[in-house]
Homo-oligomer: 339 residues x 2
Amino acid sequence: MAVGSTLGRRLPVMADVAKEAGVSHQTVSRVLNDHPNVRSETRTRVLQAIDKLGYRRNLVARALVTKHSRTLGVVSFDTTLYGPASTVYGIEQAARAAGYFVSIVSLKSIDRAGVRDALDYLADQGVDGIVVVAPQRSAACALDDLPLGVPTVAVEGGEAGGVPVVSVDQVEGGRLATEHLLSLGHETVWHVSGPSDWLEAEGRVAGWRAALEQAGREAPRPLAGDWSPRSGYEAGRSLASMRNVTAVFVANDQMALGVLRAFTEQGVRVPERVSVVGFDDIPESEFFSPPLTTIRQDFGAVGRHSIEVLVRQLEGGPQERERLVVPPVFVARASTAWA
Amino acid sequence: MAVGSTLGRRLPVMADVAKEAGVSHQTVSRVLNDHPNVRSETRTRVLQAIDKLGYRRNLVARALVTKHSRTLGVVSFDTTLYGPASTVYGIEQAARAAGYFVSIVSLKSIDRAGVRDALDYLADQGVDGIVVVAPQRSAACALDDLPLGVPTVAVEGGEAGGVPVVSVDQVEGGRLATEHLLSLGHETVWHVSGPSDWLEAEGRVAGWRAALEQAGREAPRPLAGDWSPRSGYEAGRSLASMRNVTAVFVANDQMALGVLRAFTEQGVRVPERVSVVGFDDIPESEFFSPPLTTIRQDFGAVGRHSIEVLVRQLEGGPQERERLVVPPVFVARASTAWA
DNA sequence: CACTTCTTTGTTAACGCTAACAACAGTTGA
DNA sequence: TCAACTGTTGTTAGCGTTAACAAAGAAGTG
């Protein structure tokens, strides 16, 4: 690509290419859009002109007339956390592979108004579709009043207002963790949960409860955390002081780290005296002391599926009210042992 | 905002609002853009019409004529890692506060071609400016051939081709870590470095070397990792088998976790026999066993500054060849002790 | 009172592209 | 020979907005 004749001047437009190639601008457009009826000799002449002038088509002008920007909007919450970050990454990769740009709004806090603003913001910008990573009840609610006419998919969105949802089966994950601990002979399993307004936290609690119930065990009162290692640490200190605790299912790996730390400080040995299971399988978990048994979520798959569903809608499909569930995977390591 | 008369029809445009308010479309435009010369009575009539029709302005059309999209592009590498994720988050927050959208391209691998493509991709889309998170030498090189005319800022970009750079002072960080260990009476300090093509890794090595040299100590051969806990673990196994190692500066916290794990397995006590310092201060570090002494990077500040510099350029400032450096902060915890 | 100036509004022409239709050659077929 | 078709290209008219200029009235000034 050369800069050539337009050096220092304004960027070349389609008309410049047309003149250079001795055709009409419409023929240039046809070449660019792979229309069938262009003589191959004409096509090469146009391509040469494009190359010579260093022409790049103006996608804004294109979007104005086609009404499609080939941009997807993503609304997420705190992309500093491993889960959201991985999900957004998966979404971005899948979107690009499908030929779409991604415009991201990362919310600091999620109230209904914040999500609404973000959605309006994206709709204004002319995105073709939106993925909302809505792990909280409040965010999921905001999906009830969507910008009209913009196809939307929710990730981890519960029964979000009429839009398709892609999520990891949190209930199943909670069940897997709990059943594993029960199968090791533990009388019951304690639980450090995530914040109560998070759907994921709720799902894990439900799975944990279901597994205990099925085994005919009493469910102890869960300890509530906020996903942070510190909150896990505090829960861990409480648990360490209780003699009857032998198994703990912690709702994410970061809090599990805090629990492990508290146990170490209090001289509670893992897994000899207490077994611990986490959730997420962050890259660090394998190197905790001891390496953490956990439930892996395939965030990449969630991202890919959400884009698949969205693109299917964009490209003509009907607004199906589908619900895609990605199964979690149990990962055995060294933080759990026989009672 | 009501949906009103256009229910089920096409979205209302400026002309519809104009007709509703009994003015010309240009007057509507003036109201929307806060032009001074509009009679206040006219203004309220227009605003009422906007509200009644549920009108939202078409930013694509606006961008076509103004040549500004109020969108910034961000090119980053693997936003799953804590550092890049935090930086991008900081950028996004700052950009939104400044009234800009953010379009993100997250590269899987960074070769020069990949970065180039991403830049073209964004330039095509009509972004007003670009932030490149270019922590690798290869990425930084790609800044040499930038899309013409799009203001750009590099984050962690070394001496990137003529564009402003915002970064954390990695050399100073490496120095802080090493000096701390030397001040505790350690004879010398070993180093587990990041990948050699990362500028950050290089800076930390340089700081470590400088501190040792200044103290008149021999620098041992550094062990190379790839930022992952696993590579730290492997380095840790090597170090554990060497009797003369009493202090290790690890180039990031994730690898430090791996080192700690290897030491634990081999019965090497931290900090009693070996002191360990990490880098980054990820949220987990405080809860490692033992809590990790480390160097904190203020990723949020880096993001904010990069947007500041970029916006200053966009809004008329000259393309200054500036270099903004954010100082790292030493964080003392329990993984270091007197030799 | 004529003259300039200011305020408010409207009219017209872009911005760079694609869609729709028109036009023209070169076939083909009756 | 004329009509109908086919493949290729050009012409025109938008998309929805802002910029530039024009115009009309109000207000100030000598």
